[in-house]
């Protein structure tokens, strides 16, 4: 311990701390300023940026003692006397904050830039942000926010905000309101899991297999247990309940006992007084392995030579064979004038959410925690609870999962990470236990987007009408099932693209291999099949000498078309509109109704490409799809909406607050949202399958309608007037010149033994399983985008110069970030 004196945000600090501290750890742990985030600890992501004497540095690799005597500015120091800094104000205004985990880093980098150059060009901003990552926004809103803050600092009007079309007569929905928690996110007060600290807390680490496939001969933990400061070392023997978890198939060991199936499989866990001791203990655990042959490829996995990875699975390495049969493909190809057949491969893809996984377990009886509690930024808290309870051999009611803010998920935080491990360690040690993954561990461990091999054959007539699609997909599911079944089903059912295809035969093989597991990722399998489908569409257009956009229009799904799964599309099929939007934008770009798709200039080649896609909303396929929300009104006139739907930056809290405010006719800022506490919030279902806005939005709306009716009824009795004559206006209930505040009605209800609280469980329209020929999904969304790409023909370097996207329909919320991100 040595004394470190420095100034942070204008305040002098002199603290006794270890000389081994990095500035990031010093700020977060010693100075208690957790606004500065850590995303990689290797100078790559820039989200840990703080200013040292005004200069932006990566605090994760900046030794704290290098900062001795200097002046540090962190996100907590931006606002002055309770007034937001222009950069904070503009980040909020332009919707540049989604999950918010990168926000402190982006704002600090931008603040330093504006300090040096208050009138930066877009290029200056891009250069300054080169190594400050954001995975949610796609940067367009960030760029606008920084430009606006610069203008504000120069005494000019900030740039206008691109508000969506207001849909009358709606008062809140479709209007610009700030997302929930956004002020906490721009001031550094927002708390993600690693920002929680509990007295007596231990730090945990996981020992992972370095081998892709091996038998465990022996695990010796004696030396690790003997290390001073180590409080527990646990293996499979210490799991009191089921040693398997999994969202669809329970095949994933909590801690491996006989074999490890991928390099990253968890073998042992340690809890210790400090992170360093926990890390040191991992080195002392001895595991003897016998190496087994590795299945590295999904096609090999399907051969008789491949070792069987899950002997209990009835179809061996074939996790699932998924089939789509529609019409008569032989006839379809006989009718085709042109047939294109290709094989495409797509790679494993990482989500790269900026917040690495973190979970904290609290033993039952610790402080105000009556139950075994797990704090975690998870996409599916109720499923976490179920899986924790099974492995802990406890009833579900004995476990509480509290969702914290999530620094991005994108599908990568649906599976169990450290949730069960911290529950185990907390129970064994009787102390709170935090497990934070390093970036490397996060990359190695969590399920990725499936690598696929897709052979696809597409036929069309000379006139440009598609006649048939035949496809074979191999999905590399990796070592455990995760959501492979569902993801690859989506890849299969969407493998005709959003087109009218009279005949189709599609076979998909979701395979177990010894690679990292694959699971959910934005697009949920459709990304991969769309890639193959759209490549073939371009090749066909070329062979037929047709314009690629017109060719797509000619085949676009519309009302009346039956999809390959047998679903008759009856309403809301927007593909043609999206194509027409993009066509219009392309014509505007070329300043004439003529599109040049490719050309060369010197050693550079340029090309416009176009692609369409569609994607289901909701779970579909016959799965019961439900979401429940609860709403309560309070005497101060405020409203609380409660639901366990995860907000990882996409803004579900924002959506449900708007729905409630709209139906209750109260101001948006009167509504707060409590998300993801399995003891306090009803189940909103998984945050996946693009379902939350529709599902939980509807649950919140209907709960709000029920509450409004209850309030009206009570107000009618209170004022002794007929309920149908009561009108709502800005938090008041009016009758004939009289008015009463919502809060007063709540008080009356309570005094009369009535609960000002309602719940609604929303059930999605019923769907049918694949193969039944019925409606697999209750809705689809459609998209078209065009991209201009430059290729340096000497070096092969490529640049995406421009993206044109279909316009949004009326939007519920204003932040266009997710759409922009999808484009960028």
């Amino acid at each position: 311990m040595s004394s470190l004196e420095l100034t942070i945000n204008g305040k002098r600090y002199a603290l006794d701390v270890p000389e081994s501290r990095t500035l990031a750890h010093f700020l977060r742990h010693d100075a208690g300023l957790t606004g500065t985030k850590i995303g990689c600890e290797e100078a790559e992501c820039g989200i840990c940026t703080v200013l040292v004497d005004g200069t932006p540095v990566d605090s994760c690799i900046y030794p704290a003692f290098k900062a001795r005597g200097r002046s540090i500015t962190t996100v907590e120091g931006l606002a002055q006397d309770g007034h937001l800094h222009p950069i904070q104000r503009q980040f909020v205004r332009h919707g540049a904050v989604q999950c918010g985990f990168c926000t402190p880093g982006l704002m600090m980098t931008a603040t330093a830039l504006l300090e040096e150059n208050p009138d930066p060009s877009d290029a200056d901003i891009k250069e300054a942000l080169k190594d400050t990552f954001c995975r949610c926004t796609g940067y367009t809103s960030v760029l606008h926010a920084i430009q606006s803050a610069g203008r504000e600092l120069r005494g000019l009007e900030p740039l206008p905000v691109n508000d969506p079309e207001v849909v009358e007569p709606l008062k809140v929905i479709s209007r610009s309101v700030p997302p929930q928690e956004v002020y906490a996110k721009v001031t550094g007060a927002a708390r993600y899991t690693d920002d929680y600290h509990f007295p007596g807390m231990l730090y945990a680490r996981t020992l992972r297999s370095p081998h892709a496939h091996a038998r465990i001969i022996r695990i010796d933990t004696a030396a690790a247990r003997a290390l001073p400061g180590v409080q527990a070392v646990l293996t499979h023997e210490d799991v009191p309940g089921e040693n398997l978890h999994g969202l669809v198939y329970r095949d994933w060991p909590v801690l491996c006992h006989d074999v490890v199936r991928y390099a990253g499989d968890a073998v042992a866990i340690v809890a210790a007084d400090s992170e360093d001791t926990a890390a040191a203990a991992l080195h002392l655990i001895q595991v003897e392995y016998e190496l087994l042959p590795v299945v590295a490829d999904p096609k090999f996995a399907h051969t008789p030579q491949a070792p069987v990875l899950h002997p209990n699975h009835p179809t061996g390495n074939l996790l699932k064979h998924i089939k789509v049969r529609h019409g008569d493909v032989e006839r379809g190809f006989a009718e085709a004038d042109v047939i294109v057949e290709r094989e495409y491969t797509t790679p494993t893809t990482e989500h790269a959410f900026l917040e690495p996984e973190c979970a904290i377990g609290i033993p039952a009886g610790y402080a105000e925690h009556e139950k075994l509690t797990v704090y975690v930024g998870s996409q599916i808290p109720y499923q976490d609870r179920n899986q924790i309870a099974r492995s802990m051999n406890l009833p579900e009611e004995a476990v509480r999962v509290i969702g914290t803010l999530i620094g991005g998920g994108f599908g990568g935080k649906e599976d169990i990470a450290g949730q069960i491990h911290v529950a185990l360690l907390a129970t064994v040690t009787g102390r709170p236990v935090k497990m934070l993954y390093t970036r490397q561990e996060s990359l190695i461990f969590h399920p990725k987007r499936h690598a696929t091999i897709i052979r696809i054959k597409t036929g069309a007539t000379r006139e440009g009408k598609l006649t048939a699609v035949e496809a074979e997909l191999y999905g590399d599911g990796g070592a455990y099932a995760s959501l492979s079944d569902k993801v690859m089903t989506r890849a299969t059912t969407h493998a005709t693209g959003p087109y009218e295809v009279p005949h189709a035969r599609i076979d998909c093989y979701a395979m177990y291999t010894n690679n990292v597991p694959s699971g959910a990722f934005r697009g949920f399998g459709v990304t991969q099949s769309a890639f193959a489908v759209e490549q073939n569409m371009d090749l066909l257009a070329q062979a037929l000498n047709l314009d690629p956009l017109e060719f797509r229009l000619l085949n676009a799904q519309k009302v009346g078309v039956t999809t390959a799964t047998g679903q008759l599309l009856r309403e809301s099929v927007g593909l043609i509109e999206t194509l027409e939007d993009v066509r219009q934008d392309l014509h505007a770009h070329f300043q004439q109704p003529q599109i040049t798709w490719g050309w060369r200039e010197g050693t550079k080649a340029y090309g416009w490409g176009i692609a369409c896609a569609y994607k289901n909303t909701g779970l579909g396929g016959g799965a019961p799809d439900r979401s429940e929300a609860e709403i309560e009104a309070f005497e101060d006139g405020s409203i609380e909406v409660r639901t366990a739907a995860a907000d990882m930056g996409q803004g579900i809290a924002h959506v449900v607050a708007q729905c409630a405010a709209e139906e209750l006719h109260v101001a948006y800022d009167k509504v707060r949202v409590l998300l993801c506490d399995t003891d306090l919030t009803p189940n909103g279902g998984p945050t996946t399958a693009s379902r939350q806005t529709f599902m939980t939005g509807n649950a919140a709306r209907r709960a709000a309608i029920a509450l409004r009716e209850a309030l009206t009824q009570s107000a009618a009795e209170m004022m002794d007037v007929p309920p149908q004559q009561i009108r709502y206006e800005e938090g008041l209930l009016r009758y004939n010149g009289h008015s009463v505040e919502v809060g007063k009605v709540v008080g009356w209800m309570k005094a009369n033994g009535l609960a000002p609280r309602t719940r609604h469980e929303y059930h999605a329209p019923a769907t049918q399983p694949l193969g039944s020929g019925g409606d697999m999904h209750f809705a689809f969304s459609y998209a078209t985008q065009a991209a201009l790409v430059e290729v340096d023909t000497e070096t092969g370097e490529t640049k995406v110069l421009k993206i044109l996207s279909h316009r949004r329909g009326p939007a519920l919320v204003t932040a266009a970030g997710p759409l922009q991100d999808a484009r960028h």
Partner: protein
Amino acid sequence: MKLWNHYHTPASTAEALQLLRDYAGQARVIAGGTDLLVEMRAAGHAPQEALIDITGIPELTRIEATPEYILIGAGVTHTQLVKSPLLAGAATCLVESCGVVGGPQVRNVATLGGNVAHALPAGDGTTSLVALAAEAEIVKDGARAWLPVEKLFLGAGRSLLNPAQDLLLRFRFAPVAAGREATAFSRIMRPQGVALPIMGCAVWVQVTAGHFSAARISIAPIGPTPARATDVEAALSGQPATATTIEQAAALAQATLHPRTSKYRATADYRQEMIGVLLRRTLTAAIERI
């Protein structure tokens, strides 16, 4: 995970050397730490007993011009270098190469000395120093000496400097004579990620009466240490400073230099092809500056 136990910020070279002696092999020199700390974290070894930070030593953080030389302290950051009015014309290639290292946060702390002492064959700053025929002042085994930068390297990641004992102090090179001499740097980089380029190229040329009278070319990585393409330099000498000559030099470089495959960056075949492209672009940029 803790990477070191003690952190020192000496105010003079003598104090730094004394600390290194005191720790008797258990300390390590650190500048910006952008190579060192990232590498230490990845290695996961036991913590280093002490780090000796040289960036608070005034002698090592200055850029000076004498009539003969430009002098740059080993602890000068890339940002400082890029902004220096002394270097814009006198060492354009160095400014260009240091300007593309990492992102702004990295450049704000990472140093030229660290780039060289890390001893990788394609450090961008190093590539330019080699083309400038720069010399380095070092303290080795307690003795100060100047020697050519190229002579510092023993192999990939290994230099003459003992990281627990020796120091790199300064660099010096003759400033470019405007109107007659010029330099340029360019590189091919993966769009994101891995710190070092697929291939970098720095050139220094002297043109007399429309002909190349001298040239120095540094293309990296070719071998395990930074080196000059002396055959290509010789072939340029005396030839007219025209596109045709440059094309011939590019062809010669492509035919005679043999880079290797790196699993993170590029295949040997791709690099081989890029040698020609890169050299043509860099030489063209340089003669346009004369």
